[in-house]
């Protein structure tokens, strides 16, 4: 890695984003004969909102699954805060401070909103089992602390009214919000959002955009997100990486990316005359 990676970086909009947090290097991911991701490299800087875009089947979700450890790439490596990551299980990566949401909501449907978000605190619960069972000092303190964090998130996401409702009963937009809450509860260093606005109406999208910007702003959380709505992407992201058929075809600020002829081709189709 060169020295530039350790310096802050000023975007054309005048926002200062930090040094490189995660570097994805030459990742290739194959399923049998199908190459889902081919030799992709990019980086994510501290404090930025990084968007991954591309047409259907471009390999965006696969990329997120690689970062989060659900998939293990055949080639390439991932550096997290300068250190190369060995082969890790998803739960170990979660413990390292990488939280995520899913394209098709993955919540614990039988549990209440509060309990769901509380599970996000798992990586912060350290008291031994018997102390938890007996509600012994250390466990009690921990529980109260965790509960405070969770309540703050519930306030922040404006979901006080549904805190005791089983999430299976909630409408789609709210479920998405609860899922974001659960990811936030982990106080992640890096937050991965897989299509946080898929299937939402305009108002819900606006709400979600606001939450994402606020999370980034207030908690300073680094966010990598996949999104289809170009308008949203252009509005909220600092830098964008564009994938198409498993290859990277563009990387830069929203303005740079949108001017890139290859990106225009991928989205609008190429005329071969």
């Amino acid at each position: 890695m060169n020295d530039m990676n350790h310096d802050s970086y000023v975007t054309p909009d005048g926002r200062t984003i930090g040094p490189v947090m995660m570097e994805v290097q030459n990742i290739t991911l194959r399923f049998g004969g199908v190459v889902a991701i081919k030799d992709i490299s990019f980086d994510i800087r501290e404090g930025e909102i990084r968007a991954i875009i591309g047409p259907n089947g471009a390999g965006k979700s696969s990329m997120l699954n690689v970062i989060n450890g659900f998939y293990h790439p055949q080639e390439g490596g991932i550096y997290f805060r300068g250190e190369k990551r060995g082969p890790m299980k998803p739960y170990q990566i979660a413990q390292q401070g990488i939280a995520r949401t899913f394209q098709n909501i993955a919540l614990f449907k039988g549990m209440s909103t509060l309990d769901n978000i509380m599970t996000g605190r798992f990586t912060h619960m350290k008291a031994p089992v018997w102390k938890q069972a007996l509600w012994h000092g250390e466990a009690e303190r921990e529980e109260i602390e965790n509960r405070e964090v969770v309540e703050k998130i519930i306030d922040f996401l404006e979901i006080q009214a549904i805190r005791k409702t089983p999430v299976g009963r909630l409408p789609y937009g709210l479920q998405k919000r609860v899922e974001l809450g659960r990811a936030l509860a982990a106080e992640p260093k890096l937050l991965l959002l897989d299509e946080p606005m898929a299937g939402m109406n305009v108002e819900e999208k606006e709400d979600m955009s606001r939450f994402i910007l606020d999370v980034n702003d207030e908690f300073g959380t680094t966010i990598a997100l996949i999104e289809h709505d170009m308008g949203v992407v252009m509005d909220i992201s600092d830098r964008v990486v564009v994938l198409d058929y498993g290859r990277k075809i563009g990387d830069g600020t929203p303005a740079e990316v949108i001017a890139n002829p290859e990106v225009i081709d991928a989205y609008l189709g190429v005329s071969h005359d």
């Binding site: 993955a106 919540l107 614990f108 599970t119 798992f122 069972a133």
Partner: protein, 334 residues
């Protein structure tokens, strides 16, 4: 007290205690179902296997003796020493933990994110495998199990209750098996411990989370393997306790694994996802079938109603309250 009342009381008490034993088996099912969404068909066979292992270790049997003899032409059968009961129970618990580890490593990890029905089929396979494996390891003959728990009627209860009858009537007191009393006490502790564990600890919540969604559980930092091994170990331990109780009552033999069938109506009554449900369900069925036999079955229907009463009751519940008394109502948005 009139004699009919004393008799009813005696039948009820014995029914409740039988119910406790049903609950013990049902509990094993509930634990695994809650935490992995798997209906573990092998629970009954696990109880049999645990009981076989316990007797085998206690009496110093050589595992796989028949197999060894058949292959090598030797005639080994016993090591020639007895293992004390407590130590044997601890060793059997370890056997069940190893068993849990193997099940998770060999079967469960390959079925992450699969439909519940596939996991269910896998446990049917496991049940048949365990049945054969248990016989191969410890032999298929009927064994008697004795871990030193007292059994037989309690004279104290007989003496005390004999005086409750009215003057002039002949009454010899209630028959209550001390083994049943012990089983009840042990079950109460077991259930209290498990309930606290499941409701108030991180591991307990993690268990429920894993049952709900594998991917989501992984993404919040839960290790599926660890939770599964933990759950199967606990289920193995519960199977061991159930195996000890039933084995002490009726001997260790194949039909021990069939008590699992009695757990089904208990689960339908109590709900598949509720630990208290398994207890209450077991008690209702245990007491219900004894009282029904006593009051209606034996005098009017020619007896032996205990064999089917529980299933009829379960059927009624399926029709009118499919989630059971305490089960989670299934909520689905359309």
């Amino acid at each position: 007290m009139p004699i009919w009342l004393l008799n009813t009381l005696e039948v009820s008490i014995n029914g409740l205690m039988t119910g406790v034993l049903y609950s013990l088996v049902a509990l094993g099912f509930v634990l695994i179902f809650k935490s992995s969404g798997v209906f573990n068909y092998a629970q009954g066979v696990m109880a049999l296997f645990a009981a076989q292992s316990l007797v085998g270790i206690q009496t110093g049997q050589v595992p796989f003796a028949h197999l060894i003899n058949a292959i090598t032409g030797l005639h080994v059968s016993r090591f020639g020493f007895d293992v004390p009961s407590i130590l044997a129970i601890i060793l059997t618990t370890l056997v069940m933990v190893v068993f849990a580890w193997v099940v998770v490593r060999v079967i469960m990890v390959r079925l992450v994110n699969q439909e519940p029905i596939i996991l269910f089929m896998a446990t049917i396979g496991l049940a048949y495998f365990m049945e054969g494996f248990g016989d191969l390891m410890w032999g298929a003959e009927l064994k008697s199990l004795d871990v030193g728990l007292p059994s037989g009627g309690s004279f104290w209860i007989e003496d005390v209750t004999a005086q409750w009858a009215r003057e002039g009537e002949t009454y010899w007191g209630m028959y209550v098996d001390t083994l049943d009393i012990w089983a009840t006490v042990i079950a109460v502790f077991l259930v209290a411990g498990l309930t606290i564990f499941a409701q108030y600890t991180k591991a307990g919540t993690a268990m429920r989370a894993v049952a709900d969604d594998h991917q989501a559980a992984l993404s919040v930092g839960i290790s599926l393997n660890r939770i599964w091994i933990m759950v199967w170990s606990i289920a193995g331990f519960v199977a061991l306790v159930a195996g000890i109780m039933w084995g002490a009552k009726s001997g260790v033999q194949f039909s021990l694994s069939l008590i699992a069938l009695k757990a089904l109506p208990v689960l339908m009554l109590g709900g598949f996802t509720s630990i208290p449900g398994a207890i209450v369900g077991g008690l209702i069925i245990g007491m219900g079938e004894k009282l029904f036999e006593f009051a209606i079955g034996a005098p009017f229907l020619g007896g032996a109603t205990e064999n089917w009463f529980a299933y009829v009751l379960a059927l009624l519940f399926l029709v009118f309250r499919p989630q059971g008394l305490f089960g989670d109502k299934i909520i689905e948005r359309v």
